[in-house]
Symmetry: C2
Subunit: 253 residues, 2 copies
DNA sequence: ATTTGCTAGTGTATTTTTTACACTAATAAA
DNA sequence: TTTATTAGTGTAAAAAATACACTAGCAAAT
């Protein structure tokens, strides 16, 4: 047997892009680093993976240590392994995307970080390591995902209004959506349960509250599922020309 | 500074799921392992990543050593890192999906493997390590991708007929498509160049040959792109009921 | 020379979905 | 009672998807 010892000199970490939604704005949870390298920089929460620990387990651990949350949406997105991305040696990192309801979140005292804070995704800059690239990859994944899977609900409180849901989509997709059509589409999916309750304490007509029908979604998954959103069609003739030659071929089943 | 030496004891590999299309069937290129562990098993082509080598570079290297091909479609899919997946120690692997034109492929003498061979994706079983799971992940990715990006062309020879293209889609999506509608959709995308040439040596009306318009695709990417395929709608009432409550929301821009 | 078998390729009516836009409804504060 | 503000609806017109039956062109068989 050839000797492979030379290869067993690397480490790997997980980094977690934790998204939340608040005040009509998509946020990401960042920590301020308390050690070198990049001491004092904002960074994605992450940690080395232990020798006897699976990747997903490590990602769940990081999430739990930071937020105290256990059962949240978590998905592996991609792996970053540029040779010199870490000064300690060869460290590749597996990026995870998670979606949490901000209202559930409380900073944990046993945290790995000096401090943790929500930042508007659109305003983040200058993170430690290659974390900006990781954030971008996860944001791109979220943008994609939200069109085909009803993951948006993971970011909202259990009860929400259709307008809140629309604002969430608009924040993630960075676009405006048409109210009438958005509602028609969402309701036609039969994935919302009308709680026959309304908002309280608002200075205008109170909106109806809904919750996500998880059971119904499970049934859809079994039978093939597609979930897309259309922005108000642009008036710009150039764009329109391109859009009109776009084609789709769906498979359902 | 805390001592992190304990973490620098791992290795990582890349594994490459190389798809090809031949005889109306989707194939994957497998190698027969010439060393332990799993000596003699079929496996995905892969290799350890060198200390001074980027992940993508390693994937490209493996592909070149096996096929001699250089400029092919290659995409990172996901990373597998279960604790005991490799008997030498902790080894995580980054899975890549690549698409090649089978006609371009010739087995390289300097190959890493005892032998390499195309296998029908639908018939593969019993691979080394967790390679079945990796293959499944990459196949799922391809199935998804092909609906939204015109990557199918990477698998066809430079000149192809619409029927060949349809058969490719049918093989990947594991479904039947309706000829008239498939053609309408594909042609409406304006991504094919009509070569005004026809097949030769067939015992029936010869089909027209097309090639993929790469330049036009670049323009589409800039302006937002969507690519889907719809299967002939099922007659089964249960399925139909579900399909009719599926909703889509597209963003173009 | 004609027929047969086969695959290529087209026309189009119908249904479904998308899009756009203007309308009505309900609440608190002025 | 009026005003401001957001919630929520009706619907016509356009576009896209679907289904299905048709015609076209070639070689081999008769």
């Amino acid at each position: 047997m050839t000797n492979f010892d030379g290869f067993f000199k690397s480490a790997f970490t997980v980094d977690n892009v934790i998204f939340g939604f608040d005040e009509g704005d998509l946020k990401v949870l960042l920590i301020k680093r308390g050690e070198e390298p990049y001491f004092g920089y904002w960074a994605l929460p992450g940690h080395f993976v232990y020798q006897e620990e699976d990747l997903d387990t490590a990602a769940i651990r990081v999430l739990r240590e930071l937020t105290g949350l256990n059962n949240v949406y978590l998905e592996q997105v991609s792996t970053f392994g540029a040779v010199h991305r870490h000064s300690f040696g060869r460290v590749i990192t597996v990026a995870y995307c998670s979606l949490i309801k901000i209202s559930n979140y409380t900073i944990q005292p046993s945290s790995i970080a000096l401090q943790a804070q929500w930042h508007s995704v659109s305003k983040v800059e200058n993170l430690a390591f290659d974390h900006i690239a990781i954030l971008q990859a996860c944001f791109a994944r979220l943008k994609w995902l939200v069109r085909y899977r009803p993951v948006g609900f993971e970011l909202l409180p259990p009860k929400f209004t259709l307008t809140e849901l629309q604002h969430l989509y608009e924040a993630i997709l960075e676009t405006k959506l048409e109210k009438r059509n958005f509602r028609k589409k969402i309701l036609s999916m039969d994935l919302l349960i009308d709680l026959v309750e309304t908002q309280e304490g608002v200075a205008h007509r109170p909106a109806r509250l809904y919750k996500f029908d998880r059971k119904r979604y499970q049934k859809f998954l079994a039978g093939g599922f597609s979930f897309e959103l259309k922005e108000t069609r642009k008036k710009d003739p150039q764009t329109k020309k391109i859009a009109s030659s776009v084609a789709k071929i769906n498979v359902r089943g």
